[in-house]
């Protein structure tokens, strides 16, 4: 897709996003709005994985490590401080710091992709198991009891300038949508910047990027930390949607789902993982209302079908289809116009070896 066409799509997307953000609370029921807030949080998690996997080639199986770290940091900080704005900042920073620390060992150790996937998955499962063992009054941070298996309360957001005012579910929805929109367009700007383009180059050929003088470790670490921070922010949104944080935020189910969203929606795009997350969220909610099929089984089936039939995901497939149709139309027009064939471009070159 050309840059101009991409810009048109992005503008349309921005308009659609803002309209949905403003309009949804007017037409939808409160219950749906609260559910959507959680879905938006999950979409942000999908976006964060789509960014580092799709643009940095970093296959992180445990993006939930940063998601959960953000959610827990928010809950603990908000319970202690009363103020939630600072808690959000702390959550994002903590999640980014966890990612940076983990990334430092992985990228400077130059471990291979497979080990990177295994390592990140292990880290999130370690968090999961550790937090499950934190029941009882001994496990507390300040005023916040970690609560083991049951987790701990995530206090609802308050106004930054007046911490006596708790945000309504509608207001919370506005915040979540606003955050997702800003994060999405922030990521668009990031991948178009020099930094983002170098990350893509490293994904394509790390040796070449190094030989051009780019320190690939630094770029990967930067991208991984940004992805971690975004995942932490997603954790804050989901914690607010659910009202609690539990060790389940770190578990295999979320970790695997995030990967499914990216595969289904499309790697190498930013909108794909977001749509993937919404789509799968909608599918699982719908499956939850019926009792004929086991929803995990259906999800597995969806994944298998995608890997077999649309391995690059929905969005890249649609883009390709659209481009091909346009090309086809242009090609036909050209052939009709060009009665007299010109000499084609000279092909003096040999095919590869």
């Amino acid at each position: 897709m050309s840059r101009a066409a991409e810009d048109r799509w992005l503008i349309a997307l921005a308009v659609l996003g803002v309209v949905t953000m403003v309009g949804a609370p007017q037409v939808l029921q409160l219950f749906t709005i609260i559910n959507l807030t959680t879905a938006i949080g999950l979409a942000l998690l999908g976006l964060s994985l789509g960014l580092i996997w799709g643009y940095g080639g970093i296959l992180c199986f445990g993006q939930t490590a940063f998601f959960g770290a953000g959610a827990y940091t928010y809950a603990v900080a908000a319970q202690n401080w009363g103020d939630t704005t600072g808690a959000i900042v702390a959550a994002v920073l903590a999640a980014a710091a966890v990612a940076a620390a983990l990334g430092y060992f992985m990228f400077w150790g130059r471990i291979s992709d497979v080990y990177l996937g295994v390592t990140t998955l292990t880290v999130t499962l370690i968090f999961f198991n550790l937090l499950r063992r934190t029941s009882g009054p001994d496990y507390r941070i300040g005023r916040a009891l970690l609560g083991g298996f049951n987790g701990t309360a995530a206090p609802p957001l308050r106004l930054p300038w007046d911490d006596r005012v708790i945000l309504s579910p509608q207001a919370m929805f506005y915040v979540a949508s606003g955050v997702l929109l800003l994060a999405f367009f922030g990521c668009v700007a990031l991948v178009r910047s020099r930094f983002g383009r170098v990350c893509v180059a490293i994904r394509e050929n790390e040796t070449r990027a190094e030989l051009l003088g780019y320190d690939s470790r630094l770029y990967k670490l930067g991208l991984f930390s940004i992805g971690g921070g975004l995942a932490g922010l997603a954790g804050v949104l989901v914690a607010n949607g659910i009202g609690r944080v539990t060790p389940d935020l770190f578990n295999l189910s979320y970790a695997a789902q995030a990967i499914i969203w990216v595969i289904v929606g499309g790697r190498g795009t930013l909108i794909g993982p977001v749509l993937g997350a919404f789509g799968v969220f909608w599918l699982t909610s719908w499956l939850g209302t019926q009792s004929y099929f086991n929803s995990n089984m259906v999800l597995g089936l969806v994944l298998i079908l995608f890997v077999l039939l649309l391995p690059r995901g929905v969005v890249p497939a649609l883009v390709e289809l659209a481009t091909r149709r346009r090309r086809g139309a242009l090609g036909r027009a050209e052939r009709l116009r060009a009665r007299r064939p010109k000499a084609g471009p000279r092909r003096a070159l040999q095919p590869a070896e």
Partner: protein
């Protein structure tokens, strides 16, 4: 006036388990020089290059670029000194366009507007203007080699290492590649590994012959090709 030495190695050795790929190599390159490295397959030329560029850490010995000891430095740090590198196996960004490939090289060292100008200029210089938007992965072998050469040129290096830049090219393509290399030589010193003897004869002042990981002989192409040991080494090779 004596010219400055821009690159040298002292007793550089590289072993892979029992295989001695480089054996106490003492090498020196002067500013402005265009040196060709020849030698039969497996002589250790590419390994020597990789030790110079930081892709391999030498088992023993030292590498000096200008007066800096770069033994075991990371490849990006070596490139950061102003060294342009083309590897034997084409190393390009296959999914990205010709323009993007070259821009990435230029933008490492130049600010945005100058990188843009350098990219446009380089794309024309390597005659890939017509296909500047095509992904490099879809190009023919020769064109991919030029993209890589373009990446080297766009970064404006003062020291250039090219491993088999004309491999698999037709005569016409090889001649064009030689043109580009001569142009690079106006502002940079070069070391070129090449098997094509006509190409080497046309380019090099001094030729270094590698054999079994060590330097066998150094001299002008005429002197080298008259040497009986060199003839023996190449016996059975069609060069």
């Amino acid at each position: 006036m004596r010219r400055e030495t821009v690159l040298q190695t002292h007793d550089l050795s590289m072993r892979f388990g029992g295989v001695v790929a480089n054996d106490r190599v003492n090498f020196a390159l002067k500013a402005g020089e265009l040196r060709c490295l020849i030698g039969p397959n497996g002589a250790g030329k590419s390994t020597f290059f990789k030790c110079l560029t930081g892709q391999l850490k030498p088992s023993e010995g030292r590498v000096l670029i200008r007066d800096l000891d770069t033994t075991g430095a990371e490849p990006h740090a070596v490139a950061g000194l102003g060294v342009g590198i083309k590897t034997q196996v084409p190393n390009v960004f296959d999914a990205l366009s010709v323009e993007e490939n070259i821009w990435l090289a230029a933008r490492r060292w130049l600010d945005a507007p100058r990188a843009k100008a350098a990219t446009a200029e380089t794309v024309e210089r390597v005659r890939l203007g017509d296909i500047r938007r095509r992904p490099v992965g879809t190009l023919a072998h020769g064109q991919r080699q030029w993209v890589e050469l373009g990446m080297v040129v766009a970064a404006r290096p003062w020291l250039v290492l090219l491993d088999e830049p004309a491999a698999g090219m037709t005569e016409e393509e090889t001649a064009f590649t030689a043109d580009i290399i001569r142009e690079i030589n106006r502002t940079a010193s070069l070391i070129i590994v090449e098997h094509d003897m006509a190409f080497v004869r046309a380019l090099a002042d001094i030729v270094t012959v590698f054999h079994r990981g060590a330097i066998l002989i150094e001299g002008s192409m005429d002197a080298v090709s008259a040497d009986p040991t060199v003839r023996e080494v190449y016996l059975g090779h069609k060069h």
